[in-house]
Every structure is written in structure tokens, then in C-alpha cells.
């Protein structure tokens, strides 16, 4: 009987295996579909789906950026000046006296002069030919994180303006030229020529003495471009101070000085906009609005032939929702994107605390890829004429679906206020885009933001 059981088990097991296939009979004849369905697209103007549109600026500071910038008359008049504050000179240096094998400390050394080395990003410059740079000493106390073109200090409870907008007045120290095409022959002839990516400028003894004083709040360096239609990114600023040691006055010692802060001042900024809004920049700009979706929308004749109209806007019918933005060139055009500007739309978790409300996760990044305003999006010719507005789609289907659901069906309340902002840069982790803005037509204009909805309505599956 044991053998019989084994036999039966094997037989029944084989029968079971034979039943594993499970393919329903499938037809591709659409005429036998027992369901009528219509897909339609509805484009809601801004006033029909959103309220409380607001623009915000001032998120972050250029002082956080890893590079600083200079520009002169770039793209219709963009000016930018790099502002650098150095750390104090060391209180003690170690010098080897003549004839001595050992070094001795020296706290009474005397600064004599200094050498500035500016290193440029050879992949991030605009303009042609040779660029003329000017180094100048700042004479006005200033606060790096809050300073802008017009204000030297802009902190809570303390505001003061530059005597001259743009960081002035200054005392010019030196000028130098940088030719991006200049190369140095390599030691090995088979190596590629080395591109010269730096310039050096001299700093006088008075200035380095001032900069050496940690109590002198106005100390600092302003770097300007004197070449029209130029825009340069400066990767690093180095200061080497030449000092005369008291233990060996016949020699000069070069002492490197650390950086306290680096930023830039720029003018103009997008300022008070009425018809447009911008995303990006440094400090960054954002725009917020509240989604106030209609309960019903107009249907097409085909849709109204199978379901009741006006169409109830319900989450089960919605298959796509996307915010459609139309670009417009920023004013001046020199503030246009030179790199991709990632546009994110995020829910505002506490609208009462705007503009400092915490934000939710990005809504419009299917497959982890957020929409971008690319440099090619703005068709800008050499004479700064601009092509047709480009369309940027921000898909947010699931979010809009959740907004349409009965709150009782949701585990948490869905915030209805959203903000548009520049996505964090992968390299810096910052929202900032120096001297670059994605500019869009705002509400009330002919090319205002549109909410594009695609719905499918159907008669439903029939009773068997």
C-alpha cells in the first residue's frame, strides 16, 4: 500500500502540474468590448484651478556657493562682483634664523605685500577674447551672507547701504588679464598643452596690513571684470602675504591666508515681477499657489453621450494631471539659464509659515527625473533675440488624484498649497542657481500656467 500511495501521489502531482497553465482566451477584436470609454483632455486656466499665487525670494545666499562670479555688461547689463573676505594672518610664524638649523617662533613679523591668485572655471565663462580683471580693497564694513548690490548689511535689526551700489567705494589694487586660450607648453612634449586658468594680482602693504587686522570689519577684496559682455566663474581665490620676519629681516616669507567668506553682488535681479515669475537664482526665487480644483468640468460631446455632464472630476477618472508652464526670457536676458534648471513642485506642509514652511517631496518627478528648463529651451541668438516660448510640463497625477479623494479615505491630510522651486543641485545640494533664472509667464497673462487634465470616462463594466 505504501507503493500504491507513492504511485498515486506521483500521478496526481503530474496532473496538478499539467494544470499550471492559465491563459484566458483573449481576443483583439475591439468591437466586442462591452464597455464604452472616452478619453478627453481638459485645460483649465489658472483662475479655474488655483488661488493665492505668490512669489517669494531670498532662499539661501550666494555665500554658500562653491564658486563666485564676476560679470560686466553681460546679456543686457548684468553686473556681478566677487566679494572676498580673508581670515586673519597667523599670530606666530616659524622662521629659521640665519645659520640656525632650527626654526623659531616670530610674532612680530611685518606684512610687506601680498599676491592674489584667481583661478577660473574654464568651462564656465561667457564672452570672448581676453578678460581684464580688477582687484580692489573694500572700504565699507559688510556682511557676506546678507550683502547684495545695494546693501552691505541686511540682517534682522541691522541694515545699511553701500555708499556706492556694488560694494563701493573701493581702492583699486591691481589689474590683470586672463586669456582663456593661453596655454603653457608641457614638460613632456607628448602631453597636451596646459591651459592657463589663473591670474595673479598684487596687493600693497597697507591693504594686507588692514586685512591682517581681525577687528577691521571692512576688510575684503572686490574682484570685478572690466571687459564688457563678460561673465566668469572663479573657482578659488588665494592670498599669499609676503612678510618680513623680525628674526631675519633680510628675507621675505610667504604666508598663505585662509578665506573667511566668498560671495558675489549682482545687479539687476528679477525684482518685483508682475506678469512673470522666476525660479532659481541666488538667493533663490520660488512661487506658490493653492490648488482649488473644480468639482465638475465641461465634457466633450463624445463623453457626454455616455456619462452625465458636466463631468464630475473624480480620482478614478483622472489619468493625467500636469501643470503646464510657458517660458519667457528673463529681464535682462543675461539671467537666462546656462545650465539645466530643474523645476520641482512640492507641497507646502504648513502654508501659514510661508515662505519658511517645510516642504514635502517633489511631485513632478516620474522615474526620478524632474522636468528641466534647459539652456536650449530658451532659443537665444547672439544678438539676444528670443525664440518661441517653450512648454514645461510638471506631471502630478497622483497628487491631484489624492486631492480629489474623499479625505475620509486618506490616511493623512493632503496639503493643497504647492511651491515651484529649483531642484537641489546634485553637486552642491543647494537650491541656488547663480545668475540664472527660469522665467515663466504668470497668472492672468495669455500664456499663464495651465492645469492639463486627461480623463477617461466609461459606462462601467456591465452586469454579468
Amino acid at each position: 500500500m505504501i507503493r500504491l500511495r507513492n504511485v498515486l501521489l506521483w500521478g496526481v502531482g503530474l496532473l496538478w502540474i499539467s494544470g499550471c497553465a492559465d491563459d484566458s482566451p483573449t481576443s483583439n477584436d475591439g468591437t466586442i468590448l462591452p464597455v464604452d470609454a472616452v478619453t478627453l483632455e481638459v485645460r483649465l486656466p489658472f483662475s479655474q484651478f488655483a488661488t493665492d499665487f505668490r512669489r517669494f525670494e531670498g532662499f539661501g545666499t550666494p555665500a554658500s556657493l562653491p564658486k563666485t562670479y564676476v560679470a560686466h555688461d553681460w546679456g543686457g547689463g548684468v553686473e556681478a562682483r566677487a566679494m572676498v573676505q580673508f581670515g586673519a594672518l597667523p599670530r606666530i610664524i616659524f622662521v629659521r634664523p640665519p645659520g640656525s638649523p632650527a626654526t623659531v617662533p616670530d610674532s612680530t613679523y611685518v606684512p610687506v605685500s601680498g599676491e592674489l591668485i584667481l583661478r577660473f572655471d574654464t568651462l564656465d565663462y561667457q564672452g570672448s577674447g581676453t578678460f581684464e580683471l580688477e582687484a580692489a580693497a573694500i572700504e565699507t564694513p559688510w556682511h557676506g551672507p546678507s550683502a547684495d548690490w545695494f546693501l552691505s548689511v541686511d540682517t534682522v535689526g541691522a541694515t545699511s547701504a553701500w555708499p556706492e551700489p556694488g560694494g563701493g567705494p573701493v581702492r583699486v589694487l591691481d589689474q590683470a588679464e586672463w586669456d582663456p586660450e593661453e596655454v603653457i607648453a608641457p614638460e613632456d612634449p607628448e602631453d597636451d598643452p596646459i591651459r592657463v586658468d589663473f591670474v595673479t594680482l598684487e596687493v600693497d602693504s597697507t591693504t594686507v596690513t588692514e586685512w591682517a587686522d581681525p577687528e577691521f570689519a571692512g576688510r575684503g577684496l572686490r574682484i570685478s571684470s572690466l571687459t564688457p559682455e563678460s561673465r566668469l566663474a572663479i573657482r578659488s581665490v588665494e592670498l599669499n602675504v609676503r612678510v618680513r620676519p623680525s628674526v631675519n629681516p633680510d628675507t621675505l616669507v610667504s604666508v598663505p591666508v585662509g578665506l573667511a567668506q566668498v560671495t558675489y553682488l549682482a545687479d539687476p535681479t528679477p525684482g518685483a515681477l508682475t506678469e512673470t515669475f522666476v525660479i532659481g537664482g541666488a538667493p533663490a526665487h520660488r512661487a506658490t499657489f493653492r490648488l482649488d480644483l473644480p468639482a465638475t468640468i465641461e465634457g466633450t460631446p463624445e463623453a457626454c453621450a455616455i456619462v452625465e455632464c458636466p463631468l464630475a472630476l473624480s480620482p478614478d477618472r483622472l489619468v493625467y494631471a500636469g501643470l503646464e508652464l510657458r517660458t519667457t526670457p528673463p529681464d535682462p536676458i543675461g539671467l537666462r539659464p546656462l545650465e539645466p534648471i530643474v523645476i520641482e513642485i512640492r507641497p507646502v506642509l504648513d502654508p501659514g509659515r510661508l515662505p519658511r514652511s517645510p516642504l514635502g517631496f517633489p511631485l513632478a518627478c516620474p522615474s526620478g527625473q524632474c522636468p528641466m528648463v534647459l539652456p536650449s529651451t530658451e532659443v537665444v541668438e547672439e544678438d539676444f533675440t528670443v525664440g518661441a516660448p517653450a512648454r514645461i510640463d510638471l506631471p502630478m497625477t497622483r497628487y491631484v488624484r489624492d486631492l480629489l479623494r474623499d479625505p475620509a479615505d486618506l490616511q493623512a491630510e493632503i496639503p493643497s498649497t504647492v511651491t515651484l522651486l529649483n531642484g537641489l543641485d546634485a553637486a552642491t545640494g543647494l537650491e541656488l542657481r547663480p545668475l540664472q533664472y527660469a522665467s515663466f509667464w504668470g497668472p492672468g497673462t495669455e500664456l499663464e500656467p495651465i492645469l492639463r487634465l486627461v480623463l477617461t470616462v466609461s459606462t462601467g463594466v456591465p452586469n454579468p
Binding site: R3, V7, L15, G19, P25, A37, S367
Partner: protein, 402 residues
């Protein structure tokens, strides 16, 4: 080469050839390429395609489930259990593989009938689960939609799944040695699901476009009953008849589906049949069934059914064949079934040629303790331009003991 090498698993260690092992293994192997049952696009017509809960022997001889010689647990013949003297478990597995009009294939396996019978007080009681209507089918079709003047690629998919079945409690007794009667009462059971979805081309609509889907789920219910008689007027003739009645087939939507419940008047179905011994070892069987689906057609929509639907078939069983000293009845048959529901106004029917065999796995004390039957049907279904070929295999395993 020895048999041991051919059947290393089934054969005992001593190497003695065991016919039980061969039969069981062959049964399994024969079932492998099959897969057939209600696998048909015609399942989309009306309430589905009838899925008669016939066992392998009945299918092999082209029967409609009544008047078969011998005693068995049958979901279509209430009186057929009256002669079972041992508690019995019977299960039929039915793999089907169908080739549709366009060459595509479909297949699945299911258990059209599972039952248990128990003799008590000169009666036999039973409980059976049986199939009734098959609604498994789907449509997947690409489309080019006009969405506000823009052409958008889409794929529409409609899936219908589930079956209507029956659960029945039966009682049967032999009023005389030659006359048995039986009745069953029960209910329709089962869940039907239907789902329509449309997926749109993201390239035309935008990244993040979601699929549209709407679906429904219905639970089947409704009282039913049947009565049957088996009469052996002579030792070489069995006549049988059965009638089944349904109060209504009620399909109640789930709370999420909404809508009203639907009720359909499933018609009374009459089955008659007989089997007779023409010569020693040669059994001839024939049977037919009738049901008038007109009322259901009116409830569905005008012209949804053909009205009266007949099924008829017959076959022979040669019982003198044997393998290793055990009987191995060989069966042949043919059957035609008029399907009750029209497909796009066109009548549909099913025609099969069948063959099969049976084998007593275990015998003892004059009774069969374990038996396996195999029925293979090769058939076609047609309705206008729709034509399907199918291979349906039925394997019935019957275990008795006490």
C-alpha cells in the same frame, strides 16, 4: 532495456513491473499537453458558456450526464449514487487548451466537479461542488484615440473572470433492485469579476500618466434542485432521466461595485439517456438534454439566446480490454451541444469527438477502491466567423473505502 529503467520512480525496488504505476503515470503524462474546458471567447456571450460538470467517463462516451451504466457520483444525475455501497470521494480535473480563430491559444485547468457520497440507512447521501457557467475571457486591443484633436495610442483591456458553480446536497435510494431515485437541493455559488482598463501612451500624454480602470465583482446565489431516476428494466439496459430546476441565478454586486443585483431565470433542464449492452463487453450509450433559455434572453436583451438549446451525444464502451489482468475499458463517443447564448446575434454550438479509458487502481472484496478514468475530447466551437478548436482532457479519480 528493462522496465525499471523506463519507470525508475514508479517501479518498486525489486524491479517487478507494476501496472498500477504505469497506468497512473500514463494518466498523468497524457494529461500534460491538455488543458481545456470552458476556454472560449464564447464565454463572453450572455451569462457565459455552459460548463457541464461531467466526469471523464461521461465525456469519453459523448454523454450528457444521465443514464450511464453503473453507479457513480454524478453532479447531473441525482439517482446515479444510489448503488454506491462504500463512502466515495470523486474529483474530476479538466485541463483545456483551445486554439482561437486567430491562432492564439488559451488554456487552464479546473475541477468541474468534486463530490463526496456516504451510504446510510439504505440511502446514499452526497455533497457536490460543480461547475455551471464559465465566464473567463478577455479582450486586449490597441487603439488610436482622438483626444481633443491629437492622436493618442492606447491599449484597452477587458477581463472577465470567475465562474458560476453549484453546491448540492443529494439523497438517493433504490426503491427496488431495478429502480433508483435521487434528489438534490443546493445553491449557486461563485464570484464573477469584470475589469476594464485603458492605458495611454505616455509619449502622447505625458510622463506619469496612469491607467484608467473600472471593475465590478458579483457574487452568485440562488436556490436550485434536481431530481432523477435510474431504471434498469433488464439486466442489459439502463434508462435514466433527470430534471434540474433553479429558482433564479442572482448576481449581487459587492459594496464597491454598487448597482442593483441582477436575477436571471435559469431554465429547467431535462436530461434523458440510456445505456445498453449490445454484446458481451460492448456497451452503447446515448443521451440528450434540453433547456429553453428564452426567458433569460428576454432578461438579458432581446435576441441574446437561441431559445431552446439541445445537447445530444452517444458512444460505446468496450470493456473486454485488459492490461496486466485488470480491465481497461476503452471508450469512444461524439457529442453536439447547442450553446444557449448568441454571439453578436449568431448561434453557437460545440461539437466533439471523444475517446477515453478507465482503470481500476485498487480492487478489494469485489469492490473498486480506487479508479481513474480519462476522457479526451477534440472539438470545435463555432459562431459565425468565430471558430475555435480545443482539446479537453478530463481525469476523474474515484476513491472508495469504509
Amino acid at each position: 532495456m528493462s522496465a525499471q529503467r523506463f519507470f525508475p520512480i514508479a517501479l518498486p525496488a525489486r524491479g517487478r513491473f507494476r501496472p498500477l504505476a504505469v497506468a497512473c503515470l500514463l494518466g498523468g503524462i497524457l494529461a500534460l499537453p491538455s488543458a481545456s474546458a470552458g476556454q472560449s471567447l464564447l464565454a463572453g456571450a450572455g451569462l457565459g458558456i455552459p460548463a457541464d460538470p461531467l466526469d471523464a467517463r461521461t465525456r469519453a462516451v459523448g454523454g450528457v450526464g444521465v443514464g450511464m451504466a453503473g453507479w457513480s457520483l454524478s453532479a447531473t444525475d441525482p439517482a446515479a449514487i444510489a448503488g454506491l455501497v462504500l463512502p466515495t470521494i470523486t474529483a474530476t480535473m479538466q485541463p483545456t487548451r483551445a486554439t482561437l480563430t486567430d491562432g492564439r491559444t488559451a488554456g487552464h485547468a479546473w475541477f468541474p466537479t468534486i463530490g463526496v457520497s456516504y451510504p446510510l440507512w439504505r440511502s446514499v447521501f452526497s455533497i457536490t461542488l460543480a461547475s455551471a457557467l464559465d465566464q473567463r475571457w478577455e479582450v486586449i486591443t490597441p487603439r488610436l484615440l482622438d483626444v481633443n484633436g491629437t492622436e493618442v495610442g492606447a491599449i484597452d483591456a477587458y477581463q472577465s473572470s470567475g465562474n458560476v458553480g453549484r453546491v448540492q446536497l443529494g439523497w438517493a435510494t433504490r426503491l427496488r433492485e431495478s429502480l433508483a431515485v435521487g434528489i438534490t437541493v443546493g445553491s449557486h455559488v461563485g464570484v464573477l469579476e469584470r475589469r476594464f482598463s485603458r492605458s495611454l501612451d505616455p509619449g502622447s500624454i505625458g510622463e506619469g500618466v496612469e491607467n484608467f480602470a473600472t471593475q465590478g465583482r458579483w457574487r452568485a446565489s440562488g436556490l436550485l434542485g434536481s431530481a432523477g431516476v435510474a431504471w434498469d428494466p433488464t439486466d442489459f439496459l439502463r434508462l435514466g432521466a433527470a430534471v434540474s430546476w433553479t429558482d433564479e441565478l442572482r448576481l449581487t454586486p459587492s459594496a464597491a461595485t454598487g448597482g442593483e443585483a441582477a436575477a436571471y431565470s435559469i431554465p429547467m433542464e431535462f436530461r434523458v439517456g440510456g445505456s445498453g449492452t449490445l454484446a458481451p463487453g460492448l456497451l452503447v450509450m446515448a443521451s440528450l438534454s434540453y433547456a429553453d433559455w428564452t426567458t433569460v434572453g428576454e432578461e438579458l436583451r432581446e435576441g441574446a439566446t437561441r431559445g431552446a438549446a439541445w445537447s445530444y451525444g452517444g458512444g460505446v464502451e468496450w470493456g473486454r480490454a485488459a492490461v496486466m489482468g485488470r480491465a481497461l475499458p476503452i471508450r469512444l463517443g461524439a457529442r453536439r451541444q447547442e450553446l444557449p447564448f448568441l454571439r453578436e446575434g449568431v448561434e453557437a454550438s460545440e461539437t466533439v469527438l471523444s475517446a477515453g479509458a478507465g482503470f481500476n487502481l485498487v480492487e478489494g472484496e469485489g469492490e473498486t477502491r480506487a479508479r481513474i478514468d480519462l476522457g479526451i475530447e477534440r472539438g470545435t466551437r463555432s459562431a459565425g466567423d468565430l471558430s475555435e478548436r480545443f482539446l479537453r482532457t478530463s481525469v476523474t479519480l474515484r476513491l472508495s473505502g469504509g
